[in-house]
């Protein structure tokens, strides 16, 4: 259960046990995927293929679309506005969130606005974004930025506020100035929630990626979904959703790995 103390204190002896453990984890992961697909197939059997396609039909359709080049092009196009939007959100949300955590006045001013914006579904923002940014690439980026920034801002500012004040007090009592304090105390303490924010942001970015294409001008993946839906091609609709989910999973796992690496590096430093 609580595996950290045991692992760190006896690395050598835990190695063979660790390898066996690693194998069983991998097995569980594979089992999870298989069970999920089986559950999907079971549910899909109750419905006609036009309403809810099962995994084989969906995979076949995905293979079709990939071979024709339609899917990779659409995905690349959608990924462009997602990546740019995500990058801008990170650049805005992290500094602003950290500042909000440390400066009470800033927090008190922005917090109500952030929460009010957070409450509104994306579909309601689409008309406003259309007026300010048009219908195409800039508008999609704007929607991604809007949705990601708000989510990340909430996590970063909460996390930044919750840094135990005593840690900073300890730093100060050892004579650290504000910058050193920030670097040596604030930043390491921030890593957990910063990465949590990045993961939330990634989730929201993939979500906004498809939402932008469904509510603004339908292009790329959104176009595929809309056309497929009109033509009763549920395999294609589910295929696109499945692909997006996998992409989201991949991003989250990558960020998790990066967090572990950085934590280990910081412990060594």
């Amino acid at each position: 259960m609580a595996d950290s103390p045991a692992r760190s204190s006896r690395p050598a002896r835990a190695a063979p046990a660790g390898a066996a453990r690693g194998r069983s984890l991998f097995f569980l992961y594979a089992l999870s995927i298989v069970l999920g697909l089986l559950a999907w197939q079971w549910i899909a059997q109750h419905y006609s293929g036009f309403v809810l396609a099962g995994p084989p039909a969906v995979l076949a359709r995905l293979a079709d679309m990939t071979a024709s080049g339609e899917l990779p092009r659409a995905f690349a196009g959608a990924a462009r506005h997602m990546m740019l939007g995500f990058a801008i959100s990170i650049a805005v949300a992290i500094p602003l969130g950290l500042a909000m955590g440390r400066l009470k006045v800033l927090h008190d001013m922005l917090d109500p606005v952030v929460n009010l914006v957070y409450a509104v579904p994306a579909v309601a923002w689409a008309p406003l974004i259309m007026i300010w940014f048009g219908l195409f690439f800039e508008a999609r980026v704007a929607l991604v930025v809007l949705m990601c920034t708000i989510d990340m801002l909430i996590v970063v500012s909460e996390g930044s506020r919750s840094i135990d004040r005593r840690l900073l007090a300890v730093g100060r009592s050892f004579g650290a100035g504000p910058w050193r304090n920030a670097r040596l105390v604030l930043l390491p303490a921030s890593v957990p929630f910063l990465f949590a924010a990045l993961r939330i942001g990634a989730v929201r970015a993939v979500n906004a990626m498809i939402t932008a294409e469904l509510f603004l001008a339908a292009v790329n993946l959104g176009a595929i979904m809309k056309q497929a839906s009109v033509r009763f091609d549920s395999a294609a609709v589910l295929g696109v959703l499945f692909l997006l989910s996998l992409f989201g999973l991949l991003l989250q796992e990558m960020l998790l790995l990066a967090e572990k690496r950085i934590c280990r590096w910081m412990q060594r430093v």
């Binding site: 999920g36 809810l52 001013m109 509104v120 579904p121 579909v123 989730v203 469904l214 979904m225």
Partner: protein
Amino acid sequence: MRSRSLGANACGIILVLAAWQVAGMRLGDALLATPLQVAQALPSTLADAVFWRALWGALWQMLVGYVLALAVGIPLGIAMGRSTAVRILVKPWACMFVVVSAAALVPLFIILMGRGLLLGISIVFAATVWYAVLTMMEAARSVSPNLLNAARSFGATRVQCFRWVLLPALHPYVLVAARIGLTHALRAMITAQMFVGTGFGGLINDAGLDLSTAGLFGLIVVLMLVSVTATGLLRYVANYTAPWYASRIGHR
């Protein structure tokens, strides 16, 4: 202290309203009604019984899906946080489902579940449960081992550890999950209603047909206020029932 906070709160909101007013005056009410115009249109909206019925309808349907999502998601998340096996089994799918946008799901769900109560509940459940699961999973994983070790060194059984150490430690995070879940639940409910054209979402659709955006923005402002009030209530409950968490991080 509190009055200074409230003052800053008000300041932030006033700045946003001022910017909105200026932009609205430049663009005209067909594109962006100003706060004043929205305020003028609001009384007639609020006087309409249809509005209150729609609001109530959206809220209680959302609550059913929301409570279900918490009832399923929180225990599942805790289990995932404490048991590696459960975590590996469920996490890939949780991470995958959390990414799917409600807007993409609604057309599919309409065909599968019809357009009544079941649709609203399912969409809210599907949109909310994964947030609860992932939040509780992270929270349960990060419960300080010191707390558990201290309890065990005093001879506490597994059940006692769970009941008297783990649950109270997770309590503030349960409320965080509840707050995040509530916002997503409300958003999902309104999105579903906008597709089906009924209830509060239907009112938003209809207001969008009018030339002036004042009515539309009025509805959105109401939605914002309802959501923020509800999550504010949860935050108050959190601070009240878990004061040890609040004092550690220097909240008032």
